[in-house]
Symmetry: C2
Subunit: 204 residues, 2 copies
DNA sequence: CCTACCGATCGGTAGG
DNA sequence: CCTACCGATCGGTAGG
């Protein structure tokens, strides 16, 4: 009985988060009402407030759960590959190979977080660095230290890499919203590691 | 007299767009009410509806005006430099040297456009390609044709370049929200043109 | 007839 | 978890 209750509660909570995740990704924080989430889940609006203190708590739970998923991708990349460059490459592949509704959470969490309260914002910001950006930065810095990568500012290089993935985090553009094919991922990695330049064009 | 009337109307319209631009950039489309815009401008809410059919028309006008500004940046880059590589470089510099409230419009327009009606969406999407993305793509394609740039997929390369600038289009991150220093712009261009790689790490 | 608005309020819906 | 609601505020519009 107690087990059943526990399972049911967790199940409801997870179902709310799963439904809301997709809807938030498509419509943004303010563009989605609690009523619509309730209808999608098939419960009453008050039912959501039983599992989550308010709209902000629901959104934050989805964002933090996704940070844990990203952190696990970095774990697996670190275990499967030895060189920093391969580890970075694997992280990029794992992120871009996610279904579109998951990929968009990177962008969503960061941008819509500006609409939340200060405690929620700073808490997410800290977790975002600790569980994801800081770890990617550490991989890149390690590659620079070992001589695999050029010694540029690691922070800027990290954001350049993450930025190159951003166009695939938005479902807005019809030609980009779907799964990026393997060839696109290869091109992005190729540009990041080897660049677009051919000749030395330092003079105008 | 007629001149004064005309100037006043244009002035009001421009002032509404300027105030709303900053507020939309900080709070998103749904996060900002017409009442707040009116208060910021110092007129009544009905005054805004005299100049713009509705909220959507106001947002679209801001987005399209910014596309024209981006298009002019490309014009000036094409006139000032001969090589495709330098032209691309100049476009990147002009975009990132804009004040933060202008830079964020790239991201804002694209993402919040999903909340608008289908006609507004498709109209912006077409103008976005015609006036900006398509022209950047053309510069990159020209560089590939002339042998200045590696022959990768031009569309993917364009989005990689624009993506690298995206982290500087969001005021969310405190360490990135402000003006990117010249050195950051240099690092981005360095990575795009020359890449991060040093050794050949094709084996695992 | 025109412009550039204002005070007040409409029908609905938000988060709680 | 539901039904039944609230204070407030939403985008938009009336007559003057």
């Amino acid at each position: 009985m107690d087990q059943d209750k526990g399972l049911e509660q967790s199940d409801s909570r997870a179902r709310i988060m799963d439904e809301a995740k997709v809807l938030f990704a498509a419509r943004g924080y303010r563009g989605l009402s609690m009523r619509e989430i309730a209808e999608a889940v098939g419960i009453s609006k008050a039912g959501i407030y039983y599992h989550f203190r308010d709209k902000e708590a629901l959104f934050s739970a989805i964002a933090h759960r996704y940070l844990d998923a990203l952190s696990e991708m970095i774990d697996s990349s670190e275990q499967a590959h030895s060189s920093a460059r391969r580890q970075v490459e694997q992280v990029v592949r794992l992120i871009l190979q996610q279904p579109a509704e998951d990929r968009t959470l990177v962008r969503l969490a960061n941008q819509e977080m500006a609409l939340l309260s200060e405690p929620a914002r700073s808490q997410f910001s800290a977790a975002y660095r600790e569980k994801f950006v800081g770890r990617v930065r550490a991989l890149i810095a390690k590659g620079m230290a070992s001589g695999e990568l050029r010694r540029l500012d690691p922070e800027t290089a990290t954001w350049a890499l993450l930025g190159m993935m951003y166009p695939y985090f938005t479902p807005t553009d019809p030609t980009l919203g779907r799964f990026p094919p393997e060839s696109v991922i290869d091109v992005l990695l190729c540009i990041f590691f080897d660049g677009m330049g051919l000749d030395d064009q330092t003079t105008e």
